[in-house]
Amino acid sequence: MSNTSTELEVTPSLELLKDTSHINALENEAIYIIREVAAQFEKPVLLFSGGKDSITLVRLAQKAFWPSKIPFPLMHIDTGHNFPETIEFRDRLVEELGLELIVRNVQDSINQGKVKEESGRYSSRNSLQTTTLLDAIEEFKFDACIGGARRDEEKARAKERIFSVRDDFGQWDERNQRPELFDMLNGQIELGQNVRVFPISNWTELDVWSYIKEEQIEIPSIYFAHKRKTFLRDGMIWSAEDGIVFREENEIVEERLVRFRTVGDMSCTAAVLSDAESIDKVVEEIRDSSISERGARIDDKRSEAAMEKRKQQGYF
């Protein structure tokens, strides 16, 4: 973190504090939302996956409370199928910023018999996360969970409020959401309920990348082009490393130059062919892309309402 500037700095970026600049307007809005969480709730937590969106949230939270430290912990629901690069990155970031990190493992939920591992071609631990998350919320009595979801990701997400109330089963009632007017966020809940908070709701994928570029935020290496052992299925490119993704014998492994646009559970996150080695190239590539980010998430293709159904069950 940089030190306090002692001189009175009247930088050209003073103009940028106005909401005439899109990305700065979004930044100011997100900081406001994060402060509302700290002010309105007893035990908030920031859900951290090590992906670009939650890394952006951490930066915004730093800015919101400077020169104080972020007044809530981070929590990672580890599927056990994360990219090793992401885990390394996560641990380094937490140490550098002196943050508190809570990790809860999907494997534990499987061992306890609370969820059943899927099998077969499209097996994934993504939906199993929900149980582990809800258990952790109960364990720590978290009343607000800040997440990096964006409304542009998926059509059910586009319906989500910034303060989204979940009942004591963690469920989202999409038919009965609280109206959200002007800037006023109503975080009043009953004991047992919790609120999922989405400070970057109004950001698009390109906004996140532009911000990472502008702020020079460090991100895990898998977001940049690298050579990886992969195989093809359903027109998508899957990682053949670590043996986590189920592969048929006739699915041939080849080395390809790829990067990941989204970093979820390895078993449901496909790679894209790319030679974008720098953040500038990544921004350019996203700008020109004709495929949406979620186009590379196999779990969203299970049905027309895959995301909505997961959210109703408590997925974040």
Binding site: S5, A64, Q188
Partner: protein, 415 residues
């Protein structure tokens, strides 16, 4: 790049979702995987055209019933602007969600079905846009393809709408009429040769040309304290910063300010955004302010310029848009959330209810049902620091929270 938030309004089947889908399609904002999904589902349903509403109606219940239930936020950008469209429901029973969508928007589109003309819902949508003081409103007369692109039809609807306009109390509102066909793509993004009698801009051209200076009602600076920052670390032992968002105008280092409610005076010492200091904070920036004097300020208090105080009072009258199935009844208590400040309020009196067709005729009542709009007087347990909504969008608005269910049950606009 600028961002423009637009709310849509229109009755059921007027084609709002189709219009938004059309904008996304014609600006090439639909990614190929989403387009494929729309093509596939349209074919499955046996349609001979692309059902663009599939792009925006994100809930199962919406797709089943073919209607929009809740606000969807849709994002796209051109070389000139970033756009956020709040696609709001048209059904009368979801009027509250329309108010929700419009509250954060700077411009609005009201759709009218060219075959049906101005109907009761049009009154309602226009009234709400008036109430919320949305400065730029486009009346998109849609489905022109179904009336043979008739100029007479268009002019007749325009004339009917102008009769409504004569009754409005917000005369500064700019209204633009555009004949469109969302389904065929006429005058939405691209000009059509089917309406040679129309010489104005297409819908997108209109928004591209909008100057932000014309759409904002800035108001004077108000700084509600959101969070007190006290690091108590070795490095920042004595740091005591007031974090919040600047509403209206600007605040600068050296400005003489008054802290409300204590009415203590001080001067702005520093303005921080993250670890950088600034001389001036513009509106809507989420900054941290330090003061020259040690004064006691906590969440919900407000800093204002010494020469520009808001009204400080324990009572006010406001226009209420009621959003709950349990009625608002005179004598009931609610939490008023005004910005970040929460106080307990008692309903003193329900004055005039706006008639359900929003024709402007008032009726006497002492209770409000879902989607009713009325003038209501409140008495508070503590004073709040407010402006009239027409002068200050942020400091003149509030929400009502039910003390038992914790739900947001109403929106208020202080008169």
């Amino acid at each position: 790049m600028e961002v423009l938030k637009i709310a849509t309004a229109g009755s059921v089947d007027d084609g709002k979702s189709t219009l938004i889908g059309r904008i996304l399609y014609d600006t090439k904002s639909l990614t190929s995987d989403k387009l494929e999904a729309i093509e596939k589902t349209s074919k499955q349903k046996g349609y001979d055209y692309l059902d663009f509403s599939l792009a925006t109606d994100g809930l199962v219940a919406e797709r089943e019933q073919g209607i929009t239930i809740d606000v969807a936020h849709i994002y796209f950008s051109t070389a000139k602007k970033s756009y956020i469209i709040a696609d709001t429901p048209g059904h009368v029973e979801y009027t509250r969600n329309m108010v929700t969508g419009a509250s954060t928007s700077q411009a609005a589109i009201i759709l009218i079905d060219a075959r049906k003309g101005v109907i009761e819902q049009t009154n309602r949508h226009f009234f709400i846009n008036n109430l919320l003081r949305i400065k730029d409103v486009v009346v998109a007369i849609n489905k022109m393809d179904l009336v043979d692109y008739s100029e007479e039809k268009y002019n007749a609807i325009k004339a009917d709408f102008e009769e409504l306009m004569a009754k409005r109390d917000y005369q500064d509102q700019k209204i633009t009429f555009i004949p469109v066909s969302a389904l065929k793509g006429d005058n939405v993004v691209n000009k059509t040769d089917k309406t040679p009698w129309y010489t104005g801009p297409t819908l997108l051209e209109h928004f591209e040309a909008l100057d932000r200076k014309d759409i904002f009602n800035v108001g004077t600076p108000r700084f509600p304290v959101q969070y007190v920052i006290r690091p108590k670390t070795d490095e920042h032992h004595d740091f005591r910063g007031f974090a919040g968002k600047v509403y209206g105008g600007e605040l600068s280092v050296g400005d003489e300010v008054v802290a409300l409610p204590s009415q203590t005076r001080s001067t702005i010492k520093e303005i921080y955004f993250h670890d950088k200091k600034y001389k001036t904070a513009s509106r809507r920036s989420s900054v941290t302010i330090t003061l020259e004097d040690e004064i006691n300020l906590s969440r919900g208090d407000m800093l204002v310029k010494a020469n520009d105080l808001p009204t400080i009072d324990k009572q006010f009258t406001a226009t209420i848009s009621w959003m709950d199935s349990l009625p608002l009844v005179a004598g009931n208590k609610y939490v008023v959330q005004h910005g970040v400040n929460k106080v307990l309020a008692k309903v003193e009196q329900v004055h005039h209810k706006i008639a359900p067709d929003y024709s402007g005729i008032d009726s006497e009542t002492d209770a409000l049902g879902m989607n009713d709009i009325a003038q209501v007087s409140f008495r508070l347990n503590k004073p709040i620091f407010y402006d009239q909504f027409k002068n200050h969008r942020t400091n003149g608005s509030f929400i009502l929270i039910d003390t038992k269910s914790n739900s947001t049950v109403g929106a208020g606009f202080i008169s």
